[in-house]
Symmetry: D2
Subunit: 483 residues, 4 copies
Amino acid sequence: SSSTKLLIKGGIVVNAHEMEAADVYVEGGIIVSVRPNIKVGDDVTVLDATGKFVMPGGIDPHTHLGMEFMGTETIDDFFSGQAAALAGGTTMHIDFVLPVNGSLLSGLEAYEKKSRESCMDYGFHMAITKWDEHTSKEMDIMVKKKGINSFKFFMAYKGSFMVNDEILLEGFTKCKSLGALAMVHAENGDAVYEGQRRMIELGITGPEGHALSRPPVLEGEATARAIRLAGFVNTPLYVVHVMSIDAMEEISKARKSGQKVIGETVLSGLVLNDSWLWDPDFITAAKYVMSPPIRVAGHDKALQAALSMGVLQLVGTDHCTFNSTQKALGIDDFRKIPNGVNGIEERMHLVWNTMVESGQISVSDYVRARLFNIYPRKGAIRAGSDADIIILNPNSSFEIHAKSHHSRTDTNVYEGWKGKGKVEVTISGGRVVWENDELKVVPSSGKYIEMPPFGYLFNGIDKADAKYLSSMKAPVKRSRATV
Amino acid sequence: SSSTKLLIKGGIVVNAHEMEAADVYVEGGIIVSVRPNIKVGDDVTVLDATGKFVMPGGIDPHTHLGMEFMGTETIDDFFSGQAAALAGGTTMHIDFVLPVNGSLLSGLEAYEKKSRESCMDYGFHMAITKWDEHTSKEMDIMVKKKGINSFKFFMAYKGSFMVNDEILLEGFTKCKSLGALAMVHAENGDAVYEGQRRMIELGITGPEGHALSRPPVLEGEATARAIRLAGFVNTPLYVVHVMSIDAMEEISKARKSGQKVIGETVLSGLVLNDSWLWDPDFITAAKYVMSPPIRVAGHDKALQAALSMGVLQLVGTDHCTFNSTQKALGIDDFRKIPNGVNGIEERMHLVWNTMVESGQISVSDYVRARLFNIYPRKGAIRAGSDADIIILNPNSSFEIHAKSHHSRTDTNVYEGWKGKGKVEVTISGGRVVWENDELKVVPSSGKYIEMPPFGYLFNGIDKADAKYLSSMKAPVKRSRATV
Amino acid sequence: SSSTKLLIKGGIVVNAHEMEAADVYVEGGIIVSVRPNIKVGDDVTVLDATGKFVMPGGIDPHTHLGMEFMGTETIDDFFSGQAAALAGGTTMHIDFVLPVNGSLLSGLEAYEKKSRESCMDYGFHMAITKWDEHTSKEMDIMVKKKGINSFKFFMAYKGSFMVNDEILLEGFTKCKSLGALAMVHAENGDAVYEGQRRMIELGITGPEGHALSRPPVLEGEATARAIRLAGFVNTPLYVVHVMSIDAMEEISKARKSGQKVIGETVLSGLVLNDSWLWDPDFITAAKYVMSPPIRVAGHDKALQAALSMGVLQLVGTDHCTFNSTQKALGIDDFRKIPNGVNGIEERMHLVWNTMVESGQISVSDYVRARLFNIYPRKGAIRAGSDADIIILNPNSSFEIHAKSHHSRTDTNVYEGWKGKGKVEVTISGGRVVWENDELKVVPSSGKYIEMPPFGYLFNGIDKADAKYLSSMKAPVKRSRATV
Amino acid sequence: SSSTKLLIKGGIVVNAHEMEAADVYVEGGIIVSVRPNIKVGDDVTVLDATGKFVMPGGIDPHTHLGMEFMGTETIDDFFSGQAAALAGGTTMHIDFVLPVNGSLLSGLEAYEKKSRESCMDYGFHMAITKWDEHTSKEMDIMVKKKGINSFKFFMAYKGSFMVNDEILLEGFTKCKSLGALAMVHAENGDAVYEGQRRMIELGITGPEGHALSRPPVLEGEATARAIRLAGFVNTPLYVVHVMSIDAMEEISKARKSGQKVIGETVLSGLVLNDSWLWDPDFITAAKYVMSPPIRVAGHDKALQAALSMGVLQLVGTDHCTFNSTQKALGIDDFRKIPNGVNGIEERMHLVWNTMVESGQISVSDYVRARLFNIYPRKGAIRAGSDADIIILNPNSSFEIHAKSHHSRTDTNVYEGWKGKGKVEVTISGGRVVWENDELKVVPSSGKYIEMPPFGYLFNGIDKADAKYLSSMKAPVKRSRATV
Ligand SMILES: [Zn+2]
Ligand SMILES: [Zn+2]
Ligand SMILES: [Zn+2]
Ligand SMILES: [Zn+2]
Ligand SMILES: [Zn+2]
Ligand SMILES: [Zn+2]
Ligand SMILES: [Zn+2]
Ligand SMILES: [Zn+2]
């Protein structure tokens, strides 16, 4: 139970931007003490971390568990997805609630049900897929009563989730007033639709048609548009799954000019390229279908570089798994292949390997957590923080295979990848849930984490607005007599 | 009549990219000969151009004469606007036909009526403001039978002319198939609408509210979007009235990557800044209201620089005049001020003064004409070309005043501007129509100039498309058995 | 003495990226405890921080105290400069040691002497002004024995400090091997020299000639060059005093591509513009002379924006003061005006006012400290850190005047500036040195802070190098017989 | 002889930016008439151009014939190189004179000797490799008496041709005063030297070491530096052999800001990539060694795109051939491989195939000629122009092989390339010199073409300077009493 007492001895404790040799003592699900040479009694389980890194468990800001989509449902529900997460060192995730018949409340209720068996902590973003007075009022409730501080708008999926610029402007304005973060899936949905039509017309019905129908330029366009509209409203913007140089460049440009824009990469975009989509085996190709698509080689490296220096800010997964049978729904038409790849279990390992092990970032830059206003409760190894902790052995190796992974899906887009840096222990809520390659998860042990609005990105926005207003030198006083 | 015989003696003949000392002999409205020391008989009128430049008359690619707009009609009709043009050295203009009840044919008929009294040559662009099968068919007729080779799409004017991305994609695709140039008025209309609402809410109802409601970022956004959609369709794009650095940067970026994008500046954006909009006198401020708005100082200089090195390509005017009484329609609400400024008479002088006299471009770069596929019939001093000619004296001065200009409007946005380089003679269709500061125009002497499709910008597009298709390596051959 | 016991009660403790309500207990010059409701005995001095921020004292990474330069010596020595610093909330600075006759050791000795009376903690950067074997060996000593982890190279000051690209390459390579940070003063010295000559030739001998002779393009050029050479060597680069958009853009570009480049702004560049250099009063104009020059309005705002989103990283002062008599050395020739402005006392106030009070950054982004590898000893309010602390009252006001400042110079480039956010208390080494607008500094109470090499920026460089080498696929094996 | 009379019948005459169906009549080495349906007598040789393009012969702006370099001499002298040129449709080239012992005059004399047997027209650029009063005076002579209007500065080749920034500034200033175009070979020579040292140290002595030792970043750096120094002097700049995206981006940026910068691509950089340098056969690899190096795939396509829209301006070859025996000088050390590739014969074909045939530019954009102030004598099909003409059959094919090419070298970097668009006839000075795949060149029939200074790029520079000076508002008037 969460009354377990744990001592992690002899490791290097890593927090954002810093490292120190220290022991970590945990009791009642909370980190009680972080200092060298902690002495404890016999009732305390001691974990030896000598030569290893002791770090906050990962937070995956972008997942879809138990989601109904494209006529089917992801094969991973909250329980199986979270189990996989824990096996990979991720101890919290934030999932996207989809409204039900346009109602945010109904959507939330559905997700409360879906998440009942949770074996680790989680939070929610909420999608906005239409706009009226009612939507606006439900947003109030979500933020003020339900612990949601971020709303996602889809600029693609024409005919279903897609919203137009008018709704973006309304929604961004509402988000600003609530201190909630506006998020966008940035692709030009009208053009994607046209691109798909064109591919079918050309007889290109296979998975490669997916990538060809929605090239990077359409992601760059929508990213640029969302950024400028958010700038026009003067509210912070979070761009989910930045998959291309085109989108990254827009984020870089905005940040240089002082705009509060956050760019999220996802694991697949960061380390894969699109070559598999041309694989002659349909199932092999289809498992790589997600939106925006994984891009041609070169985008991955550029995203890594941007991530390394803080031009992009974090890494999610967009974990959204469908098994081979589900993927086969699109055997005759790529538009029917359920979109989504796995990653919730692989993220921490592959980011370590790609970014830290390769020398692109330092160990202490591997830990990043501030955006969702739950730091330092989450994302820190310090007295008072939740005891979500991992022990990573930089000298041990990992290897990824569908047959050994913990997701329910039967394939893995990282099949056969190996690397250095292994999560040997995961502690969730003060309890060891992953050790010796074994999972010990407990259904319903996970808590819903409410995330308060007005995080640091909102600091100063009122002052900036006031300053702008006074700079306008308007209205000009004019006598009507002049006419 | 056009059977007049003229000899222009002793001048420096200027064509695009070159200059030479030569005489020019004109007969029957056509340039017959261009060479040194032409001898002629007594029946020929001789114009002395010693120490002066002999150049093709200007072509203004962007005007609105006799246009009904915002509940009123421009004070300059075809005749008065053209008379002003001729007094300023412009001998051809291209006006925008607006559909009538969505019909292009009806629109064209209306403009044929409006242009009946023309005293100089003119052509037409056509606006597309809605989309259906019928529109598409009428576009065929316009191009194949009516001499129109360019179509304009408005991304602003929500609720009236504005079209969405779906229509842009349809329209661009149709333009491509016809070899017609797609043009855009690039501002994000949804955001402009929101910006206007915001200003009114803040009590800012005067002309300064016009500029504040539609900042450069909204022009940059729409320009970026139009460029990317045109790139997605792979058809050339012409961006009308580039008013801001934001838009110019997008054009520059696209051209660097090999995309066929043309950027048109207009005189007001090139030489003015927005300070007048804050003038305490309403009429003074209101006369500067146009869309996109004239920008804060700095944009003008940057546009000049981009124009000087070919990053932007040409200069129009968007001549669209309303007198003080008309402008006063918006005395209580800037949204009701008819949009538009003068310029058709001033363009040649002010571009000379700003670009050539200041040293930013050479004399031989002052002449530019290729885009609308009427070169060398228009835009050249060479045997066989139409005799639309000006004599410009680089050592003479010009001065601009509403009281002496030839437009019918009672104000002038360039009031009091002076400079060097004066158009002393204008010849239109072989007839001297402007000399000794006197106009001698003849109603109905102007011809409608048909402009053929598939100009040089379309050269190679089919090959590029074919190359792209073959590079896709799709469809991949797959056995269904694999599933 | 440093055995003083202090309790700071009721404030908001601010660390990098986070804030919390907590008390701070200090003893023996060290922060002992940071938590709510600390109870203490009567021997403890209690400072009430209710409604105020308790933050780490500032670190000024760029100062010149007691420096001999241009035939004179800065009017502020270590003691007077540090006193001013403490009055403004800065509790540590890093000064630049200049070699003596090319010897780093002799230079260091001289600066050890200069800094003997220090009343606050300090560290050293070392300048490299020539190159030979001996220099290289002395660099070893500086890093391994003397606590120096950064070396500065001047790309300007032709004929004195300036080094060429060959030395930059040698020096950067040496820095890399030592884990020391390479720094550059980035201006093209050859062109500056030519620019100065040109101004004198034009009869422009006053302070405005200083700015005109070394425009932003020369700073952009040198910044670009240094960045690329550092990239070629693959070692981190720190660009001191980024004064222009031109330089900032280069840094932004490099970071986007993953290069480890740090951009330091200085207070004057961040908040001033060059207009004062045209002041008809020589002394007024001359006090703004520094290199690179303060730029035309617009650069300041752009640097602020870049700083706000992390494109630039920190703010120094380049505090380097000369009084009016010294500035008058250049009365007939701007090249002889000693270069430098004040700022060590004003930095914390003006950065707060310009960045936090204006809404550009959050309070928790005001605290930044990681670069020089002395964190968390310096730059943090946490148990174990040095007790260098300030109490800032966000509702109190400050005002700057030469007659009341604590520097020895008789002018102030921020004369008359006012703003919100006042440092009411400064604690240095556990002792209150500034309270109730009164200084209580103690000569020789400051310590020299050794800064270890191989800070976080060096993390992974060896791995990146190894990866690059293996990617080269060279040498290719070739049989000589093929020739 | 040049008194031959020729009629080219039935072709499409192409000039810069325009095309027309017309016949071309040539007599006395001059084009006499260009118009449809020219009738001639029996003494005229008639060439049928039906279905073919009649265009000005190509001008190769960058060649090295008979050059002594790296201890050997190019295998092509003026005669053999020009013969090859004519076989490929190039009818004029501009070669680089190297000073002899620092003397421009001696250098010119040497090149006058080398070029004595010329079989086609040619001009000279002059290299500047050191700087003193004498150099400056010789530049006067070159421009005023010798018909040279361009000077090249090497930023690489440390220890031989390389000049530093001080000389660049002196040289650019001198060029400006003479109306001569400054040219640069842009690579950072210090860094190249260091890169070479590093490769040798790593045991990489083969041709791949050439590319690895001088990466694109060094070309980008030098290009940026030269551009900014030229901007500082305010004189036009011509960047020879732009080989990388890095350099192209700098040129694009400068042009966008209105700076007069010209970017020359060369054939090898435009169509090849560096993969051959890794070939296990030394001679195969060595033939691709040139400086700046041919880059990794991707740069080629980007340069093509930039060329297509006028961001880059023209295509030379840097034809500089060494045979296998000569290349073998570097068998043990890539630094000793004579730098240079062929191209003078292949340029027109490969540019046609890559740019026109692929759809990237239109036929009328294939003809470009204005830069060297010899237009329209050269580069135009019009009455009065020199009769340097080619007939290109767009439906015929070409194929490139060392065994059939006309250069004296025994290898060809384009070995095996095929494509559409063949130069079937070349006319040089009014004489058919290439027809039916047969060369009929006449030694000493080529003329030296003097190129006058103050081409169009210099237009307005004086005015821009004057405007800048007056904008400085300096010197400020100050009373000395104020001090
Ligand atoms: Zn998405
Ligand atoms: Zn998603
Ligand atoms: Zn418009
Ligand atoms: Zn218009
Ligand atoms: Zn400095
Ligand atoms: Zn300094
Ligand atoms: Zn070269
Ligand atoms: Zn060369």
